[in-house]
């Protein structure tokens, strides 16, 4: 894997040598996230967010396993069992708030991770598979988060389940049977709650498995970097450990400070008060909204209020919402520019920031009531979202004149080519 100058694992302790001969797991870890993995020397702090996403997943799995010890997945008692966790279980309030806010922070770091990939075109050859697996992880995360939000069986849980499973009833002919099949009934009930709990427990481990594939695929070509220029020699890289374990460790500290600030001082800030009302199938809350991390996609769903020829508005909205994510699967083939980094693409850079603003506008509209002017703004913003990927990006790739690239990573760091090619970077000024 990776570069020929990667450092080799040599077990020092006889016990480690004994283990290495029989099961080379320490060697595997050393080569994956240790000194055996050479990484470009010029990574900036945006490269922290992959590790931060992994850390967030670990927080979710640990708190989730504990919550499952106290939670009861039955529609009659689920709401009470969550209140039991909040009031009676020792430290239960902290664990549940850590889990619910952990989901939000997981999405925050993953969204930054995704936009990092978009700006630096991390999806381009030879890293397409890394990107595709990343989109798979994102879809799994969304499914997991949605099902987790149903478990407390509050009003938003119930009506969120109703609306999201209702998406499938938009499919012509087989939609209604599929809807009933997914729920195990005609409306969300005990059957739906139980299967959501089962899958909510399963999917994080599936995510962990796909993350292993994601990192495996990344380590074949090695990490990209802010210049987008490929590694040319040993002078361009530093070992992952201790250089990036230290840098990621610092980032993790900042992440945990922000996470704890929300967790301890505003634990309900990102939630919705209606979910503290027990589920009531007879009354819809005045304003149903999903969790904030789904708002941009919810806005696209709601943007379709008109039929298009014979296709009903409902089906169009559902199709557009899924398409907005599935579109990311073909992104590596839509952006044909040979230059990776947005830093050297003046036109692309402008449109990148427009896309960021567009997604933020969609997010705002998705959280707003289904009324004007938000419907019209969502329609324009949704149209722009698709236009960015399907029209603007391919055209920009063709007409843009990129800025001159540095000859190497080292040149971009030092401002000149290194004196001797064999010179190891050691503690080069970064």
């Amino acid at each position: 894997m990776s570069f020929p100058w990667a450092e080799h694992y040599t077990p020092k302790h006889p016990l480690m040598k004994w283990v290495d001969d029989r099961l080379p797991l320490p060697r595997f870890v050393y080569n994956a996230v240790g000194a055996g993995y050479p990484v470009p020397r010029n990574l900036n702090y945006f490269w922290n967010f992959g590790v931060l996403s992994g850390a967030a997943l670990i927080v979710q799995i640990i708190t989730g396993i504990i919550l499952a010890m106290h939670y009861a997945a039955s529609s009659g008692v689920a709401f009470e069992s969550v209140e039991h966790i909040m009031r009676d279980v020792n430290g239960g309030w902290l664990l549940r708030y850590a889990h619910s806010n952990g989901a939000s922070f997981f999405f925050i770091v993953v969204y930054i991770h995704i936009f990092r990939g978009l700006f630096y075109s991390s999806y381009k050859a030879p890293r397409e598979m890394v990107w595709l697996l990343g989109v798979v992880i994102f879809l799994l995360m969304m499914a997991t988060a949605f099902m987790g939000y149903v478990l407390p069986w509050g009003q938003m849980s119930y009506w969120g389940a109703q609306v999201i499973t209702g998406l499938f009833s938009a499919i012509p002919l087989v939609g209604e049977p599929i809807h009933t099949w997914l729920l195990g009934g005609f409306a969300p009930g005990n059957a739906a709650l139980n299967r959501f709990f089962s899958l909510h427990y399963l999917l994080p481990f599936v995510i962990a498995a796909v993350i292993i594939l994601h990192i495996w695929a990344l380590h074949i070509p090695g990490s990209s970097n802010p210049t987008g220029v490929e590694v040319k020699g040993p002078q361009d890289t530093v070992p992952f450990h201790p250089y990036y374990t230290a840098k990621d460790g610092f980032g993790l500290g900042v992440f945990l400070v922000l996470y704890c600030a929300v967790l301890f001082f505003a634990p309900n800030w990102l939630g919705h008060p209606d979910n503290y009302i027990p589920a009531n199938p007879m009354a819809t809350p005045a304003h149903i909204v999903p969790e904030w991390y789904f708002w941009p996609f919810y806005a696209i769903l709601r943007a379709f209020t008109f039929d298009f020829f014979f296709v009903p508005a409902k089906l169009l909205g559902v199709f557009a919402m899924f398409a907005s994510i599935l579109l990311l699967f073909v992104l590596p083939w839509l952006d044909t520019s040979p230059v990776r980094s947005g830093s050297y693409r003046p036109l692309f850079k402008k449109f990148f920031w427009l896309l960021v603003v567009d997604v933020l506008i969609l997010g705002y509209c998705g959280g707003a009531p289904a009324a004007e002017p938000f419907v019209m703004i969502s329609q324009i913003a949704a149209a722009y979202y698709f236009a960015h990927f399907l029209i603007i990006l391919p055209i920009v790739s063709r007409i843009e004149r990129p800025l001159p690239l540095p000859n190497s990573i080292t040149e971009s760091v030092l401002g000149h080519e290194p004196a001797g090619v064999a010179a190891k970077p050691a503690i080069a000024a970064e």
Binding site: W159, F186, R195, T284, K314
Partner: protein, 189 residues
Amino acid sequence: MVTVEHSDTAVPAVEGEGVRRRDFINIAAVSFAGVGVVATLPTLINQMNPSADVLAQATTEVDLSSIKPGQAIKAVFRSQPLFVRQLTPKEIEEADAVPVSSLRDPQSLEERTQPGKKQWLVTMGVCTHLGCVPLGTGEGENRGEFGGYFCPCHGSTYDTAARIRKGPAPKNLAVPAYKFTSDTAILVG
């Protein structure tokens, strides 16, 4: 295959091209295993469908005697809300005034009610968009600009015959099968 060499000597193959016995055994074994896997699927898939206790929910009887003209009530049918509403003469007039062909889901009020009982509008209280419960049964609730029902989730607006007039919902509120057991009671389901 690792045993090719062995099979070539142990099993006299037909000279030249053609299917050998080992190929046949191979295909037969894999096919049989495949049939076995497929045979497990119906059970694995069908367990997700509504269970017997969910399906066994009885029909619902609704007493109409307490519903005054202009009022609506919410009942429960198959654990979903059911709207029963007595229309006022003005509401019936409004519903009849709309040309049926101009509607998204063309249906007249007659087709949506029972003969001679045009004032009794019985529909599911489930928005045909994504399944929220529309507003408009309770006193003072928003009935939308067409005076029927208004779904707060995505703004679908229904008229006094519970027909979709505006917003993303594709269909009118569904009318379940029901019959009058007396002048003041219906049996739904």
